[in-house]
Symmetry: C2
Subunit: 384 residues, 2 copies
């Protein structure tokens, strides 16, 4: 069979592809967006997992929208208005895929920041959407560019990661959040707010969701990969009921529903007395690792490149002088450190700014120090 | 946001929608395709489930194609040739969705038997394929119709459920299997073989997969919902490596991968010494229930309608005299028995033959007897 046309421009995920190479013995990986294994809240999940064999009803077919007690908990947890609904997905990645399939036709115009989340570029590529990019500044998207884009195009949706952006780590300011919501309302552009890193803030106060300023014109994507564990593959989409019901129809055809035993275990975890303490410890660990990475980068690489400071999330973005970032990343892997070159985060490869995405959550402080030393050798070679 | 064009002809699954009504107190459901809860092999899964908290590595992100030890086991179990690969999916439903997304463009021609599996009609509808139907006989598809369809159209794929078809329970004969494979090879039509009920044969000998006669021109979809449990949402697609690799790319965007803890538990179950015995007991139970349903139907309804005999699977197909099957099914629900009218199993609603699909795996012998009594009242009313 020939490839569908929608696939002919899709590249396999560089990140998924290099995960194997990055896990080779001796390689320190700052490439993936992997949470710290040693902080998986398995102790808090043990009773729940051990009790699964006694709960046969969890192993039968279930509702497409999700395990009802979990949905009830999540609606309360996120204080959804009565007119809103939720749908549990096989990871928030599936939520994004359902949104694209439910609401986009080929050539429909969507907007993303550049750089942007690779998984979103893939999903919108599969639906053959016409992707427009707006530049990202230190406090969010360039608002003039955004309004210009909205006013001169018939835009269906604007997809963004306002809390600790992947790949840059940028967190949108309150003002930007309000202005983006106002622009989305003014131009009737749906705002798709992806917040997998929202609970991973280790400095400062949480800011309101952008969607809180345009609740009936937005969908929120949440992930349990970062605050629970990725392997269970659970995420959530919330928003107005008619939009969520449409996602339900696509999900019926996509996988009927997500794993019910895993949904029951997630519910028990979220309701566990120790869960808030787990989150606090997670944030502390990531704060320590972030500081270690940032300090090492400052120490070894300050004269070559610029790293942005972040208040949470999993990544820092290392801006480089003009160079071949793909060759640099390949060479880094040969030197025992896996990183992701900026090129993979741009839909439009002609506008790539040279940079590397560095993850700080899955390596120890000691490993982070060694990784930066190895990286420094390669960067000096490519950028000197 | 407006619905994507691909959704505008898609109806929510009647079966998924009535599952709630069918589970109301007092209603006996022969509607769903639910396996028997009381036969879930949870006793065989207990050690594996209890051991999950000690296996942190299962809770991290994993490979898109599946948990490597499970894939290795499955390739051996199904004796895949070296040139073939497998991909673990979030239920075989996802496998079908991936195939459609990977290989179909809008208006591409695909062939199904009529009636056919509702979930497949939905998936092919979402990709806006041009669905051609061929009639089904007691030993498989009408071969003259099939060859005529292949020879006069540029057909991409033929999707079928040769072992205990959903909804009719028909099992293709060996001759039909060989001839269909030959026609697929002759006309270069990929054969998509969906075999969720293959292990549920309680009479006679297993027949070779159709795909065994056209291995490099086919994909096989397997489900663990019927032989393990549905709630864990695991299925498998196998076939030539280049086709499976293409599915991998779509799956990356769809959900990154399926639940790893559930894949590890499935592997332990398949390797458990008691698994073959479990399957044997499952077949015996379903055989007893099938006989009870069939005998009750023969006793109460013989003069009104015709039920086909089956050698396995989960369904019988009750052909009715000309009547309004949708109204009949609705009335049956009011009389305390849920069934599925034939209309939902036809892509082309103008060619519907009046019938009901009756499931025999999820109700006890006593419940099946009461269900048929209730159904008889309604059928006499509608068909007399």
């Amino acid at each position: 069979m020939k490839l569908a046309k929608s696939l002919q421009n899709i590249q396999p995920s560089y990140i998924r592809e290099i995960l194997a190479a990055a896990s080779a013995p001796g390689v320190i990986s700052l490439a993936g967006g992997l949470p710290a294994n040693e902080k998986f809240p398995l102790a808090l999940m043990t009773n729940s997992l051990m009790n699964l064999p006694n709960r046969a009803e969890l192993f039968q077919y279930g509702n497409t929208a999700g395990y009802a007690p979990l949905l009830t908990h999540l609606k309360e947890r996120y204080q959804l208005p009565h007119s809103h609904e939720g749908i549990v997905c096989t990871g928030s990645q599936q939520g994004l895929d359902l949104i694209a399939r439910a609401f986009l036709n080929p050539n429909d115009i969507i907007v993303m920041e550049a750089p942007s989340y690779l998984g979103a570029i893939q999903v919108f590529g599969l639906t053959q959407a016409n992707i427009k990019s707006v530049s990202q500044r230190s406090d969010g998207p360039d608002l003039d560019e955004l309004e210009n884009c909205f006013s001169t195009n018939d835009v269906t949706l604007f997809y963004a990661v306002p809390d600790f952006h992947n790949p840059t780590g940028v967190c949108w300011s309150l003002t930007v959040r309000q202005k983006v919501a106002a622009l989305c309302n003014k131009y009737k552009v749906a705002f798709i707010e992806d917040v997998p890193y929202r609970e991973l803030r280790f400095k400062g106060e949480a800011l309101p969701l952008v969607s809180s300023f345009c609740p009936d014109n937005s969908l929120v994507l949440r992930s349990y990969s970062k605050i629970a564990t990725p392997g269970i593959r659970l995420g959530l989409v919330t928003g107005r009921a008619d939009w969520i019901n449409t996602l339900n129809i696509v999900k019926q055809a996509s996988d009927l529903h997500s794993s019910i035993p895993m949904q029951a275990v997630l519910l028990d975890l979220l309701e566990h007395d120790g869960f808030e303490q787990h989150l606090e410890e997670l944030r502390q660990l990531y704060s320590v690792r972030y500081k270690a990475l940032f300090q090492n980068v400052s120490l070894h690489l300050e004269s070559y490149c610029h790293a942005n400071e972040v208040d949470g999330g999993m990544f820092i973005w290392l801006s480089l002088p003009e160079c071949d970032v793909d060759a640099l990343a390949k060479s880094a892997l040969e030197h025992g450190v896996a990183v992701v070159p900026s090129s993979v985060f741009y839909h439009d490869r002609t506008s790539v700014t040279p940079a590397l995405r560095l993850n700080f959550t899955n390596a120890s402080v000691e490993e982070l120090a060694i990784a930066v030393e190895r990286l420094a050798v390669v960067i000096k070679q490519y950028c000197d």
